[in-house]
Amino acid sequence: MLDKNEQIPILKGRCVVKGVRTGTALVLTRSISAFGGIDPFTSKIIESRHPQKGESVKRKILIFPHGKGSSGFSLYFHMLRLTGNAPRAMIIEKINSLTALAAVVSEIPTIGGPFEENKNPIETIQTGDKILVDATKGCVFRLAEE
C-alpha cells in the first residue's frame, strides 16, 4: 500500500459520515432503492431491471448516483449493518435524505458530492478498483495493484 500522503486524491467531496476504509469498488450505474433493491440477508441487489442486479454489496466500497424509492431505505441499511452485510464505505454522487440517514444509522464512512473539478465518481472509479476512502477528509485515493 502506498503512503496516501504522497498521492493526489482521485476524488474530493464532502464528509457525510467520518471514517477511513480501503476496499474493492462496486460501481452502480443507476440509482437504487434499498427496500426492494438490496436484500439485507444475502447482501445482493434485487431491484427489477437494475444493471447491477445480482451483485453483492457486502464489504465493498459502494459507489452509486443517489438513493431513491421507499422510506425503508435507512432501515434496510441498518439491517445490512446488523447482518454483517454492509458495504465498507460509500461514495454517493448526490446526497439526499434517504442516503444521509442510511449512512448515519449504518455507521458506514461516506463521501457525498458535489466533487471538486465537477468529477463524477461513477465515471472516475470502476468496479474492481482498489481504493482508499478517507471520508473524514472527503478524499478518495487509488491503491497500487500488489
Binding site: G37, K68, S71, K94, L101
Partner: protein, 428 residues
C-alpha cells in the same frame, strides 16, 4: 450546527435522556445532510413495526429498541410524546395474519409494540396514506414523514415542507419535535428545474400512475433525478386525490422525486411558470406523448398469458372513492374461485366501509379487504400464484422485485376487477 438555547438545554440533558439522545442523533443526521440548523415540525408519520427478525430480538425490551433505532449507547425509556404522530403500514394484518403465514408469537409481539407506543402517544393509523385518515398538514407546515408516496403528496398537493424520512429520524422527530432544516424544508430548493408537458389526454387513474412512473424514470435517464419537475398541460378537473395519489407514488418508485408541481393546479404553482421554474428560459421541456404512456404500460405488464391468479388493489392504500368504484363494479357479480382479490386500505376506512355498505358488497363478492399492511412489506405470495394484476405501478415494481418469478398485468381498476370476475386479462 447552530443550536437554539432551548436545543442546547436539550443536548445537555436538562429535559431527560430520550430528548437528549434523540437530539444527538438528529445533529449527526443533520451534519450528514449538510444542514445548518434544525426546524420544528407540526406533524410526524413514523413506523412502529419492525421486521420479524428484529421483533424476536427485542421482544418486550422497548428501551433497547429505541436505543438501536437512535444508534445510542444508552437504553431509552420514552416519556409521553407531544408531537402529532401517526404510523405507517406494518408487516402484519391483524385479522388475516394466519393467512399470511405470520405466527401467533410475532402477532403478539406486534400487539405489544402497539400497546406500548400507543401509551406514549403514537396514533396507530398504520397506513401509507395518513392524509386519508386525519394526519393532514396545513400548507407551510414542516413535517417529518416516512413513506415516499405520502411525502410526495404532502409536499406537492398540500404544500407542506418535508423530506422522505426513515424510521430512525421520525422517531427522533416524534421525541424532540425537530428535524434537520435541509432539502425541501428550504423554500429555494422547491423550484422546478424541468418541465413535462402533456400533449395528450389521459383518461383512467392508471394512466396517471403510468405518467408518474414515466416521469420518474425519465428524470433518472436525464441525470436530473433529484430535481423538481413541473407538469404543464394538466387538466384541472383531473387533479383528483386518487389520480395524484397514484401518480406521485409511481414517480417516487421509478425515480427519487419528493416534490413535483402542476402548473396552475398545485399550491406553489398557481402564479405562473416564471414564478416557480428556476430559470424558465434555460429549462428543458419534455413533451409527453401517448407512446410514452403506452410503453410504460408495456414495461409494467410482463405477462403474456391472460390468465390472472391474483389481483392487488390499494397501493397506495385505497380511498373511499376507489372502494365505492370497486363495490359498484362487483355488484351482483362474484370473483372467480381460482382468483384472489386483495384490497389494502387504512383501518379507519375499512371500518367505515364495513359499517356503511360498500365494504360488505366487496366481501360478499369474494374480495378481501385488508388493513394496516401492504403485500410488498409482508413479502408473502399465495402458492401457485404466477400472474398478478394491479392498478398500481408502485405495487408491480416492488412485488416483482420480491418475487422475480411472477408476471404482471398493469391496468385500470375496472380492468383489474374484470380480471377478478372472469379470470382473464382483457385490459390494456
Amino acid at each position: 450546527m447552530f443550536l437554539t438555547k432551548e436545543e442546547e438545554k436539550v443536548l445537555n440533558g436538562e429535559y431527560g435522556i430520550p430528548r437528549q439522545e434523540a437530539l444527538k442523533f438528529l445533529i449527526k443526521y443533520g451534519e450528514a445532510l449538510g444542514a445548518e440548523r434544525l426546524v420544528s415540525v407540526q406533524s410526524v408519520h413514523t413506523a412502529m413495526a419492525v421486521p420479524e427478525q428484529f421483533a424476536k430480538m427485542i421482544r418486550g425490551n422497548y428501551p433497547l429498541l429505541n436505543q438501536v433505532l437512535l444508534c445510542s449507547k444508552r437504553q431509552i425509556e420514552l416519556g409521553q410524546l407531544e408531537v402529532f404522530t401517526t404510523t405507517h403500514v406494518c408487516n402484519i394484518e391483524p385479522y388475516y395474519y394466519e393467512y399470511f403465514g405470520v405466527s401467533e408469537e410475532v402477532m403478539q409481539a406486534n400487539r405489544e409494540i402497539r400497546a406500548h407506543y400507543t401509551k406514549k402517544g403514537i396514533i396507530f393509523t398504520s397506513t401509507c396514506t395518513p392524509y386519508l385518515v386525519g394526519n393532514i398538514p396545513v400548507r407551510g407546515n414542516h413535517i417529518a414523514w416516512m413513506e415516499s408516496s405520502a411525502v410526495v403528496y404532502a409536499n406537492s398537493v398540500i404544500g407542506a415542507l418535508g423530506n422522505i424520512e426513515g424510521i430512525e429520524s421520525t422517531l427522533a422527530a416524534a421525541i424532540t419535535g425537530k428535524i434537520p432544516y435541509a432539502g425541501f424544508h428550504i423554500p429555494e430548493n422547491r423550484k422546478a428545474k424541468v418541465i413535462f408537458h402533456l400533449d395528450i389526454i389521459l383518461e383512467k387513474q392508471s394512466d396517471f400512475d403510468a405518467l408518474g412512473y414515466f416521469i420518474g424514470e425519465e428524470l433518472e435517464n436525464m441525470g436530473m433525478s433529484l430535481d423538481v419537475p413541473i407538469i404543464t398541460g394538466f387538466k384541472q378537473g383531473q387533479a383528483t386525490q386518487d389520480n395524484l395519489k397514484g401518480m406521485g407514488a409511481a414517480m417516487a418508485t421509478s425515480g427519487a422525486v419528493q416534490l413535483y408541481h402542476i402548473d396552475q393546479v398545485t399550491p406553489e404553482a398557481r402564479s405562473g411558470l416564471e414564478n416557480i421554474v428556476e430559470d424558465l428560459g434555460k429549462t428543458e421541456k419534455i413533451v409527453v406523448k401517448m407512446e410514452d404512456i403506452k410503453r410504460t404500460y408495456d414495461i409494467l405488464s410482463t405477462a403474456t398469458d391472460p390468465k390472472v391468479d391474483l389481483v392487488i388493489l390499494g397501493c397506495p392504500h385505497f380511498s373511499l372513492n376507489q372502494l365505492k368504484e370497486v363495490a359498484l363494479l362487483l355488484e351482483g357479480k362474484r370473483i372467480r374461485d381460482d382468483v384472489i382479490l386483495w384490497i389494502f386500505l387504512p383501518a379507519g376506512l375499512k371500518e367505515l366501509a364495513l359499517a356503511r355498505g360498500f365494504g360488505k358488497m366487496i366481501e360478499k363478492a369474494g374480495g378481501m379487504l385488508m388493513m394496516d399492511t401492504c403485500p410488498a412489506l409482508m413479502q408473502f405470495k399465495p402458492e401457485n400464484v404466477k400472474i398478478v394484476a394491479s392498478n398500481s405501478a408502485k405495487q408491480i415494481h416492488y412485488f416483482s422485485a420480491e418475487f422475480p418469478e411472477i408476471r404482471t398485468w398493469f391496468g385500470s381498476v375496472r380492468d383489474c376487477i374484470n380480471a377478478a370476475i372472469s379470470g382473464k386479462w382483457g385490459g390494456n
